[in-house]
Symmetry: C2
Subunit: 383 residues, 2 copies
């Protein structure tokens, strides 16, 4: 019966000149509607309940100036009372915005998500988004059909912008996304990409240079570098910093001491063992990831070596919260709070880009914190 009343109204409203009748029916209808909390609450229902047009209600709700204050209050109160909130898909379809930002994680580099740092970054970004009324959409992608995925995300249109994680030295995504016209910000830079793009990065080069210099100052001369895959930009920059520090003391980097692979635990273990068993083993290890560092520690332990006395270890991509224990394990680190801040800031930058499409693309370089503990000791005498 209620349905009938509704249909009737719809039928009439298409024709002009029935304003009065329309009002009458509406009022009648509103009697039913009051008993209808929990019913489908959309703009139509709400406007019928109020005896106003959808347009006016929409305007009142979206803060347009041409609505009388009295009407606006009435509308706002009703909306609140009836728990109305606009259907995001319909709104998006009408406005062309989706009020969501996508974070794309490549599937092969699945460890990215498992990386403890990811949670903190995400938390930071989430804060910015929720403050601005945006949602955060996370997708895992198999990286063999990445290009297709980005094209799809553009035409699917369920995000207004994208954060790109883990850029490679020459990352094709940057050109692709630029040409697609989908606003994006890269978390990390891509050294071999010349075009302009928005990014936020940690100064990986400086970080590893300082860490290496610190070890050199302690007297270490054989410093191993356990790096990530060096086609990934951050890993490349870390090696640059390492080499730069050595060069500053007139030292040549030794290939046998530089390893590069996916940063798993077993990788850290395997490479450390191999280096320890070789002639002239390293007295210090500079490790690019907390995960691999666990392997490093296992290997040292297996070899009967004590960290900070026999071999110094500095780990990056790590944090006091995870590493510090009773022994005050030493750290060189992007702290959890700074990672969260990076997330917050990236999101903010991207939202700004979306809101002011005209402005030059923002970039930001963060310095990494340096925290040193007891496991980084002077080079042992036998060296």
């Amino acid at each position: 019966m209620i349905t009938n009343a509704l249909m009737l109204h719809c039928g009439l409203s298409w024709r002009p000149g029935f304003g009065l009748l329309f009002r009458r029916v509406s009022r009648l209808w509103s009697v039913y509607a009051s008993a209808l909390i929990g019913q489908i609450m959309n703009l139509k229902t709400l406007s019928e309940h109020l005896g106003l047009s959808q347009t006016t209600v929409s305007r009142a709700l979206n803060g347009y100036p041409e609505v009388s204050e009295k009407t606006r209050q009435r509308v706002l109160e009703s909306a609140r009372k009836l728990n109305y909130s606009p259907n995001a898909r319909a709104k998006g379809l009408a406005t062309g915005k989706s009020m969501a930002i996508g974070h794309v994680i490549a599937r092969s580099s699945r460890h990215e998500m498992v990386n403890p740092v990811f949670g903190d970054y995400t938390a930071g970004a989430g804060e910015s988004y929720s403050a601005a009324g945006y949602d955060m959409l996370i997708s895992l992608v198999d990286d063999d059909n990445e290009e297709q995925f980005y094209r799809a995300i553009k035409s699917k249109g369920n995000v207004d912008g994208l954060i790109v994680h883990g850029p490679k030295m020459e990352d094709t995504r940057i050109d692709l996304l630029s040409s697609l016209g989908l606003p994006f910000l890269s978390h990390g830079r891509a050294s071999n990409v010349t075009r302009n793009y928005a990014w936020l990065d940690v100064n990986n080069c400086r970080a590893f240079q300082r860490a290496t210099e610190f070890l050199l100052d302690l007297g270490h001369r054989r410093i191993a570098l356990l790096n990530g895959l060096e086609f990934l930009d951050f890993a490349h920059r870390r090696r640059q910093g390492y080499i730069k520090a050595l060069a500053g003391r007139g030292l040549e980097p030794e290939p046998a001491l530089m390893r590069s692979d996916e940063m798993t635990e077993i990788y850290g273990y395997r490479e450390t063992r191999a280096m320890l068993e070789a002639d002239d083993p390293p007295t210090a290890v500079l490790c690019s990831s907390i995960i691999s560092a666990i392997g490093v520690r296992r290997a040292l332990s297996d070899a009967g070596l004590t960290m900070g006395r026999d071999v110094s270890v500095i780990t990056y991509d790590d944090d006091l919260s995870y590493m510090s224990n009773g022994q005050e394990v030493p750290i060189f680190t992007a702290t959890r709070s700074s990672v969260r801040e990076a997330g917050r800031l990236s999101a903010q930058m991207l939202l700004d880009m979306i809101r002011n499409p005209g402005l030059p693309l923002p970039t930001h370089l963060m310095e990494a914190d340096l925290i040193i503990g007891q496991s980084t000791g002077p080079a042992p005498n036998h060296t």
Copy 2:
């Protein structure tokens, strides 16, 4: 000019009887369209390009049977070649589905995201989603207006279902979501909720019972429990397990040894110091969180105590990858891979619910792994 042609076609297509002309214009148009890769690719453009109706194209794309195989192939090939993928908002508006699942994180329990376990859970869930063509939408919510948020998420309609994280003993969200008719699965149970709901949980009670029994077997009698906030269901269950184990040996739980608060590092530090300074300090600590465990270790270190010799520590919510170091710190844990499996499974269960709304609500209880290392030693003699 192209625009004109397009408008013309639109104008004509509203009237019947112009089929022939329509075809002609379409063919003409398709010549332009071939030069138009990169143009707005929507169903309309695509169908015009093919000289077919939107209906037929849609049917071909969505696998409806009443399309000729020849047509279907032509459509599919064109769609692929022109990088067409349907607009998610429009599709959603038309179908009433959004092909996205929401994960809601309460803001006050922000540490949930920062919890290293969160990343693994999310990674697992993400795998299930991407395999099924779903997106994952993460929102941070201030928990003072949570109810309003859930109502909004329902009528905004940008997710087809929800994963609820960190349920409380009596969690109002479960009743709310049930009554809203929004499919959801709770990661964890809510002991005081009697209605049926879908959940996946780790057997927290058994886990802590076993850990406590393990310490009791080593001769410990004064075992501290550093628990989370006990209105959170998992924390409550952990205490149950702890008490059950003590009761099994005829021991009364001692209030001074049972602490409960938000699981921060400083909390672990503060409470451990306090207990160590009291008369008759604990010889073992059972800690509910990796984060607080760091504080525990600091406190032990400050007091000049050695873990595994003077005081044993067992940490839950933790993992080999994070905790194990050169010293082989001991662990009692839901391992990272099992957490990821929990995420994968939860997501799968929720998707199944959505696809088969008729079936009884699924539930699943996982057992926690038990891994013990050297830092859990026998009770010292001075006890």
